[in-house]
């Protein structure tokens, strides 16, 4: 099963490599990983997507917790949560294709953020599956480049993962 794990850790150099090293050393699967500082400059937030059966994911969360620099973590998949990923995608927009591409952007509620004679760049936010669907709909031959952030997540409800 796919799990999305949200981690608060000390904002120290080397912390990221401890997490990455843990996954490679123990042979855990890592689908995506995003890191950024938080409103508290001493903390960074990491969002990690992994796959594995219950026993493996249990080990993954325990091993992450064991890292000295990890302050708190939450497996968002354990409860209702919101997941978003951002994508910047450069599409060919020559001749007749422009109209069609614009329609697609509208349907997916994307935003055109750059235009040239022959291309545009679309910004799109949503669940990873929605981004996948957009890429599929856009047709392979018209896609020039895809840049995705990897998913971010937050639990629904009143509680927050914070100190």
């Amino acid at each position: 099963m796919r799990h999305i794990i949200s981690i608060l850790m000390e904002n120290e150099s080397g912390a990221l490599s401890r997490v990455a090293g843990l996954f490679s050393a123990r042979g855990y699967n890592i689908e995506s990983l995003t890191v950024a500082p938080t409103e508290d400059p001493t903390l960074s937030r990491m969002t990690l997507v992994t796959r594995g059966d219950e026993a493996i994911v249990e080990q993954i969360t325990k091993q992450l917790n064991k890292l000295i620099e990890v302050v708190k973590l939450l497996d968002l998949s354990d409860g209702p949560h919101i997941e978003r990923e951002i994508m910047l995608i450069k599409l060919k927009a020559e001749n007749g294709k422009r109209e069609e591409a614009m329609r697609l952007v509208e349907i997916f509620r994307g935003k055109v953020v750059d235009v040239t004679d022959s291309t545009f760049v679309v910004e799109l936010t949503g669940k990873s599956a929605k981004l996948d669907a957009f890429i599929k709909a856009a047709h392979e031959e018209s896609v020039v480049e895809v840049v995705r952030s990897g998913p971010l997540g937050i639990a629904r409800g009143a509680k927050g993962l914070r100190l």
Binding site: M9, R18, Q59, K62, N65, K66, E69, V71, L163
Partner: protein, 572 residues
């Protein structure tokens, strides 16, 4: 008080009550060595190889429970120390290793003797630090010692760039009194509800087994363990790492379990209905084939490290907490519980165990012409009154020592269980002897293992460490030869240890006493003589049967009930 970085390093060690630093100098740590030179509180032990420094610090820690400290230079000094760091990590030994680093401005420039020590050691330390500011030295040391010794212990590396110890930059020094890390809070007590559940299950058990590991030794929980085991009257077995926590000569003790465990211990594991695992981590050398492990048992597991629980084997009642405090609570709960033990079923269980025991799985034949390694260990046991510290290397001799030296006290059996590091024994013995200058310290080793850190004989000479080295010389990497005999149709590929030195002359050339012992009848007297030389290191080259194997044996990946038994014993 204004101090330089180097002086602060020394001051921090003093604040932590460090007596000995095992080290080896080099460019990046010269400022620290200069500060060492100017003081008398901390004794520096100059080893002959950085691997020796880490193993010695480790042996010190294992024997006395205080954190061991090693000091090495950057680059090759640090890489040489890695084997010792990994050895300590695998067995959860508290240790602080100081490594020099090139000056901060040079980091990342492939400077002379630069390696990424923090990167290299990351997977084999509990934690590591790179100090970036003189002002951070004191707090980093405080954290490092706290991390190394609390929770599940382990080695911590502090990497110190040379400019940080510059004697010309002085700052005010004060050592932090309190330490709190928001990201690190080891559990102080087990969950009472879980403990009560465990006790209920234990009282209902008909075929219980208590299975203990190194965690009992590390947390000094031997007294509580003995009380619990005696109160319950249950059989107990131990891993290689836990030997000595429960008296090895006691009737309730079934001997070691696992790959080279006793028949009775392994059969009891296979048949048990209630397994109580205490400070043990279900290592593959213990479990064998996981699918066949304790097939009928409800499993209770006490461990300080949550990630040890249900890692290899699914556990029914996990209890996370320090072994000593959990056992204290268990004893209290047990006193309040009105339920009584299933004494009839237990009596039947013990009867079954005695049947297994009567097979005498460790039996061997000592003839009159060639010394059996088992006999050598038994002789060592007799001559030392069962009361020596025994440091071991890795191989058959290690297993024979574990099987035949019956440890009645914790911290007496010192070996590399998790990593299985050949070369560990001699330097570890030095660390033990430093901690206990007047104790008998034996090093049980093989002719292959001893050559991996043989240079430390010089260190022993310099610091008057009167170790008694018992080399079980079988001319082979015996453990390798045994596997080749069993699983490779006797193709002894590169396991013969050719071109051996004359160990007697070798010992003598280092200034020690050497003895060669070949006759079974000479062994005891020679050993008496060796141990009578209280102030000398004696190197006993004991020539043993080159073809002896370690029995019983469970092939990797097999179940506990599928043991190879010695050709002499009744086959199962």
């Amino acid at each position: 008080m204004e101090l330089s970085g180097a002086e602060i390093v020394i001051q921090c060690l003093k604040e932590e009550g460090v007596e000995y630093v095992f080290g080896y100098p080099g460019g990046a740590v010269l400022h620290i060595y200069d500060a060492l030179f100017k003081q008398n509180d901390i004794q520096h032990i100059l080893v002959r190889h950085e691997q020796g420094a880490t193993h010695a610090a480790d042996g010190y820690a294992r024997s006395c429970g205080k954190p061991g400290v090693a000091l090495v230079t950057s680059g090759p000094g640090a890489t040489n120390a890695v084997t010792g760091i990994a050895t300590a990590y695998m067995d959860s030994i508290p240790m602080v290793v100081l490594t020099g680093q090139v000056p901060s401005p040079f980091i990342g420039s492939d400077a002379f003797q630069e390696v990424d020590t923090v990167g290299i050691t990351r997977p084999c330390v509990k934690h590591n630090f790179l100090i970036k500011n003189v002002r951070d030295i004191a707090s980093t040391f405080r954290k490092a010692f706290y991390l190394a010794t609390s929770g599940r212990p382990g080695p911590v590396v502090i990497d110190i760039p040379k400019d940080i110890t510059d004697p010309n930059i002085k700052i005010p020094f004060s050592y932090p009194k309190k330490i709190k890390m928001r990201s690190y809070n080891p559990v102080a007590k087990g969950h009472l509800g879980q403990i009560k559940r465990a006790i209920d299950l234990m009282l209902q058990a008909e075929r219980p087994v208590i299975y203990t590991g190194g965690g009992v030794v590390l947390d000094n929980a031997d007294k509580q363990l003995v009380e619990l085991v005696r109160t319950l009257g249950f059989p107990i077995t131990s891993t290689l790492m836990g030997l000595g926590a429960y008296p090895g000569t006691d009737k309730q003790f079934l001997g070691m379990l696992g790959m080279h465990g006793t028949y009775e211990a392994n059969m009891a594991m296979h048949e048990t209905d209630t397994l109580i695992a205490i400070g043990a981590r279900f290592d593959d050398r213990v479990t064998g084939q996981v699918a066949q492990f304790c097939p009928n048992a409800t499993i209770i597991h006490i461990d300080i490290d949550p990630s040890s629980i249900s890692k290899n084997v699914r556990v029914d009642v996990p209890i996370v907490g320090p072994v000593s405090s959990v056992l204290d609570d268990m004893l209290l709960v047990l006193k309040e519980n009105k339920q009584s033990l299933k004494s009839e079923a237990l009596a039947k269980w013990w009867k079954q165990i005695e049947v297994w025991r009567s097979k005498q799985c460790l039996k061997y034949q000592q003839g009159s012409d060639i010394i059996k390694p088992q006999f050598a260990v038994e002789t060592l046991y007799r001559v030392t009154g069962g009361d020596a510290f025994v440091a071991s290397d890795v191989g058959q001799h290690q297993m024979f020592a574990a099987q035949f030296y019956r440890f009645n006290k914790p911290r007496r059996w010192i070996n590399s269980g998790g990593l299985g590091t050949m070369g560990f024994g001699l330097p570890a013995g030095m660390g033990i002897q430093m901690a206990y200058p007047d104790a008998s310290v034996a090093v049980v080793t093989g002719e292959a293992s001893i050559q991996m850190c043989i240079q430390e004989l010089a260190t022993c000479k310099q610091y008057h460490l009167p170790l008694k080295i018992m080399l079980l010389n079988n001319g082979y990497m015996g453990m390798v030869r045994q596997w080749q005999e069993f699983f490779y149709e006797g193709r002894y590929s590169h396991s013969y240890v050719d071109s051996l030195p004359d160990f007697v002359k070798l010992a003598e050339s280092y200034g020690h006493v050497g003895m060669k012992i070949e006759q079974p009848n000479d062994l005891e007297a020679a050993m008496q003589e060796a141990f009578a030389m209280r102030d000398r290191l004696v190197f006993m080259d004991v020539v043993v049967d080159p073809t002896e194997n370690v029995y019983p044996m469970i092939e990797a990946g097999k179940g506990h009930h599928e043991m190879y038994m010695s050709p002499g014993s009744e086959l199962v």
